[in-house]
Amino acid sequence: MKRSLSPLAGRHAPSRRRFLRGLGGVAMALPFLESLGPKKPARAAEGDAPPFAIFVRQGNGVAQATFDGEPERFWPSFGPGTPLTTANLSAETDRSLSELADHASKLIFVRGCNFGFPGNGCGHSGGGNQVLTAARVSDNPSGNLSLSEGESIDNRIVRELGQTGDEPLTLYAGRKYGYLDEVLSYRGAHDLRGAEQSPYNVYMDLFGLSTVDPEELEAIRLRRQSVNDLVRSDMQSLLGRTDLSKFDRDRLQLHFDSIRDLENGIICGLSDGEVATLEQIQANVGNDDFIEDVIRLHFDVLALAMACGAVRSATLQIGSGNDGTQYMVDGVKQKSFHKISHRIDSDGDMGPPIPDADILHSKIDRKLLGLFKHLLDKLASYPMPSGSLLDCGVAVFTNDLSNKWHSYDNVPFILAGSCLGALQTGVYVDAGDIAHNKILSTIGAAVGCKNGNGDPLDDFGDSSLPTGRVDAIVTPGF
């Protein structure tokens, strides 16, 4: 017998705000409004936001020069070593990175970074396994099921700098296909983290109680603490068993560490109109036609989260492991980006050619960089004592491949922000064919991570890789 949905359900996931209204929150209709622009947190922290890192991943490589004659369409025509200015970057009209010209002085272009290990049967999966981990790719499982043998840098940042049980924000824009979806964030070897598609869910998880008045909040806190205490007791009883497998113990420990009591801390929030915008897109978070809106809204929530110090690291994966999104380019819905990146009308290794596929690839690079610019704009819109929120952390635009050939060499790392002066900005460097663990160490160190000796992090990733940072972008003394 088919079951129909209850009144609580519908096409959209039920709103948690329904719960808040039931608590005595204001039960008013929320009109759809254009975003009112950036809002300062309702009760913002004094001083700069703590350093943070946001990693944005595009799939399928970028349209850079290839050995088979495709021209350079990504990197600037001027070489590494040339300072980045709005003027010189704006002039690069045939290069995708010109999309970021407005923020030139805050940018760091790093080329010459290579993944350290080959994939194991699937270029996309192997790249995804490595891009934020610099760890080996698993022997088993293999192919599209391969996993990383180490934690990702976003996890390292939160594990070291956050509180017990903290997790990085792990976000996803686009459709999930069930073949190769999440690829980026790992708690540890083989422990891939699921990613959230809905910016509304992200917002509500972080700030859902921001509109509740203090008395009600205290009542909720006490009630939840009472329940949490008994749940913790249950968990401790289970964890106290001596006959648990490592798998079970790790899982239960993760669960136990996740149980949090409500803190009476500073509360941040977006305007009702902005929240309504988030809620309205719920039903379409996996729809190609809305992916650009979803990405912008994810960025809006991420910026707020960093401004409020809610989390120290986050990832946004755009598209699946081999991004099959059908982007709109020049007003036309294109074939899947994965096929365009192959230059053929097939997800496999052979098929009829797609006309001007290299140009389409470049246009998609531009589109996604334009969306990355939205993040930079948003971060820059929050004033902080040291300048803006963009100056407090670093936003990273990268890829799990370098080009159409599934290459792992010269994977682009485009950074923005200095982490309160730890990084030199307005620079374009060639790191010189280094293993990319160094750029990840550099970012981790800039946010505040240390190595085992208490010095700035310089040994992230697989232990077989050379240690060190990309000194050319590190501010002397940091």
Binding site: R3, S6, L8, A9, G10, A13, P14, F19, G123, H124, P141, N144, L145, G165, E167, R175, Y177, G178, Y179, D181, R193, G194, A195, E196, Q197, N201, D205, A219, L222, S226, V227, L230, V231, S233, D234, M235, L238, D243, L244, S245, F247, D248, L252, H255, S258, R260, N322, G324, S336, H338, K339, I344, D347, G348, D349, M350, G351, P352, K404, W405
Partner: protein, 568 residues
Amino acid sequence: MRGIGILLVGCSVAALAACTGTIGDNPGPGSDNDDADGSCVGCTESGIQIVASSRFPRLSHAQWENTIVDLFDLAAPTGLSASFASDPLGGKSFDNNEASLSVSSTLWADYQTAAEEVAMMVTGDPALLAKVVPSDLPSDPAARRDAWIEQFGKRAFRRPLSSDEITLIGGVFDQGPSFYATLDPFTAGVRTSLEYFLQSPHFVYRAQLSADVSDNQLITLTSWEIASRLSYAVWDSMPDQQLFDAAEAGALDTIEGLEAEVDRLLASDRARATFRRFHDQLWTADQYDNLTSKSETLYPDFDPAIGVDMRGELERFVEHTVVDNGGGVRELLTSRTTFVTPEIAQIYGIDPATLGPADAEGFSRVELDPAQRGGFLTLSGFLAWKGTAAQPDTILRGVFVNLKVICQELGEPPDEAMGAQLGSEATNRERVNALTGPGTCGAACHGNYINPLGYAFENFGALGEYRTTDNGVTVDASASYPFEGGAQSYANAVELSAVLAESPQVHGCFSKFWVEFGLGRTVKDDDQALIDLIAAESQAGASVKDMLRTLLTSEAIRYRLATAPEDQ
């Protein structure tokens, strides 16, 4: 669109070896699995090996949703799980795989919010509240509280509560009035307790707490734990009262009692959804919902929404074949009874005006042409999904059959093969063969394993329509495939399907997926005896229902493997 990289491997012997993996070697009982004293670790009387698994498989989101419906006797699912943090399935076939199911801080917060919402909903509705608060509870407040906790807790935790648990939960219950002053004290206590029950690990996980270890490192599950294994395997939800009663009476400790309950569950109306769900997930039919665009020249009326109907066709095909007609693997691969909308009928060359009565969603039963079609591999959805804009996607069709029907593992193509473009040969088959067939770098995998299966479907165009010519040339759908028992030839998809229907490899493959689904975990080498048991029945003509029955009445359901100290 599925992004499966298709598959060329490098031109080396090692690559050839890498192309030919199957389900791993079975060490057999009494070999590497012996304890120091020679007893066989995990061995059972029947010869089935019990494989290590989690003591705490978490409820999948679908299971959470179904359990809430059954626990509170709701008219319909709440839909709350749609906002839960997603589980990274990582390419696993089914959403109930324990390896993918953990509670992160995000999901924990989701559970907390959902528990509070459900508690509010239930205690705010007198009719719902009456379903969980019997009218015959004691009148004394403390006794009433304890009685309610005991009886509701038994259902929520799917086992009896200890007296200590009842006492501890009573402590939370008694705080209810301070949290919900506007409710009567008992209801306030119920609401607070419900918030606890739905967040407790004993609800969130299907906890297996039994601990007595036998000589073979086997732990016999309690009746309650067996009841949960059965109900979540067949209904994706908690046991019903009859199954609880059977557990309480010890009926599940006997083979007769176990079989009686398994038969009842499998015969239930609710089990239909299980068979639909298994095949839908195994064959990734959700991908039909997002068909790639087709050539406007060849298919001017193409509407991608037809993919949703194609998925509906497959659902009905499975229900009819497996549930209504008691079919097995053979029938899934050869049956020609399907259910079509007028649009799908046209793909099959059936005049919509001749269709019989339609169901509520517009599907009519038809019999397909036996000369053209037989089995699910010749239905519209698979063929259209694995079709390019204008041609069959020969490679992807071949890959699918290798991986999902035969369980023939395949390698992956080298990066330098990416972007290879088809030539200008006259037919699709010739173009594919020229690029990947014998004499090319792809010969090892494509030539031997992938292409022969893909060629069998050359009679079906990009949308699944039947064709006898390709570019004016008569279609050649003949090929030969190197099954484990020897190479077999076929002239077309109908003959291939008939060959597959008789193949021990195929019956073994299908059985392996049922073990994965039924036990909610990845299959291991030591599962081979269990797989062989089910496969033998399938080969002998057993229905899919009977295959699942064999699994659920086997010792795999009654035991778990004790955890080795080195694994702690």
